[in-house]
Symmetry: C3
Subunit: 210 residues, 3 copies
């Protein structure tokens, strides 16, 4: 119940962040909807396809899409409000990040995958939507550039794996891991932590030309 | 029979629109072929993967790829002809849009999906190829920007869902829905209808830097 | 045994080429890792999903990801070395191209696909990773532009199909096809062979605006 509520809040925050990007790219209202939807359910869809959970979860459950539509209506109807509340969106987005890390890891473990698969699918579930959002906006995904975002998700997945070797019951270790991801992400936002960008070693021919 | 012919015309128009984009991005002939193929079969491939129809339809049926190769040869051999006949391409592309909306919706219903799944897969089938085409060209997909394209497809899928509650036999309601999509798209082309683009609420840091 | 070694060399070269692109786009270390991983296993992942080989091979086999991590550490720790040894990377990348062409074609034939499916999946396996790498870097995939790369892979796949009608035992014809791909790619690199880019027939509205 509390989990479902968090799930919905996470989806809603992801959808708002997609809708906001759609506004900034000056898409039409339909394009804003597609970006919101792709951001909200894109990561889970890739995870489900890769794990053979066909059809993906949101196609047979109305609430997710209704939340995405609601987020789109807010974005299209009140763009300035959305812009002003970006801090709130980022807060719920961090909750989504922690929650989907745990959901992705859990689904991978249910299918019997080992450490590599668990970390990869936790990260895809939590970060895939944001990457698709940026690809559709023809931008290099922001999570690849300089934010502590996917790295928080990976750390959380590694924690889940490590805690399996302790006496902690599974719900406790999953909750603890989710909280670590959320707190790490919020701290990174608060104190502008980021991984340093690499310096390009040599300018490449390809970089200037498009 | 007539359906197969329309199917082939739709694929061919999709392939030509992909090849034309390849010419404009000054790809090599192989790149033109890949763009034509991705545009023609990309949407149906995503739909089939998501529905578990493995392997996707075009991998075991030679005619689709032959049509794509033919479209590529025309594009590479007669680029100016292709440019001049763009109106004809858009006409058949509209037919493809209507047809693939209906095909996608039908396949989703066959798998027992509800309204959300039917609309999503109708739209993916009809518009996915064009979105992949634009992504491979490193552009924001045109259907997200200001054209009545995906919105026509969504409307058609909703119509299919609505007409299920009437006494109309399925072939009639499917045909009617396809015609609505095609006519709406052609009217939008003829009268330059489009959804209004959203104004960016505040200029974002990310927009200028790439 | 020798095959496994070649497989690992190919993955490693693919990962290095992805990591190098990540450096050039000035991603953070995590972004470099994601680009290395996507380049190394992206093509095989699409192939496995399309063929229904779920979950994809690398999710349940640690060595591939360890090689990708090693490539990322080299890239992040010694960017100038990576830049200077680009010729070596391209050499092993060519071996990967030949090898994955054969692996992709073989897996498609195992699933009973015909010529279209064999060529398509051979090419996706060999070239898909590089295309995803460039998409994540928000660039038009280089293999679509002017290099003999995917065309070498397609030629190799056609050769595999053609040699089935001869008396040659399968291992011989597969090895021969792989060698043809590798040699063709190396010759193209050595002598700067490329397919000519298409001239854009007419400047299009869409090209200037983004």
């Amino acid at each position: 119940m509390a989990l479902t509520l968090l799930d919905y809040l996470g989806i809603f925050a992801f959808a708002l962040s997609g809708a906001l990007k759609g506004l900034r790219k000056q898409l039409d209202p339909f394009g804003v909807l597609v970006l919101a939807l792709a951001t909200a359910v894109g990561g889970g869809t890739i995870r489900d396809v890769v794990l053979g959970n066909i059809p993906p979860y949101w196609l047979s459950e109305r609430n997710y899409v209704l939340l995405v539509i609601a987020a789109t209506l807010i974005a299209v109807g009140m763009p300035r409000l959305l812009e002003r509340t970006e801090g709130v969106i980022l807060f719920f987005d961090a909750i989504g990040l922690g929650l989907y890390t745990v959901i992705g890891a859990t689904k991978a473990m249910e299918k019997g995958l080992g450490g590599v698969g668990v970390v990869a699918l936790a990260c895809v579930t939590a970060c895939g939507g944001g990457m698709i959002r940026d690809l559709l906006a023809a931008e290099v995904p922001v999570v690849l550039r300089k934010e502590i975002y996917a790295s928080a998700s990976i750390l959380g997945a590694l924690l889940i794996l490590g805690l399996q070797y302790t006496a902690l019951p599974s719900p406790v270790s999953l909750t603890a891991s989710a909280i670590v991801v959320v707190v790490l992400r919020l701290l990174a936002l608060r104190f502008h932590w980021g991984l340093p960008a690499m310096k390009a070693p040599v300018k490449h021919d390809d970089e200037t030309r498009r």
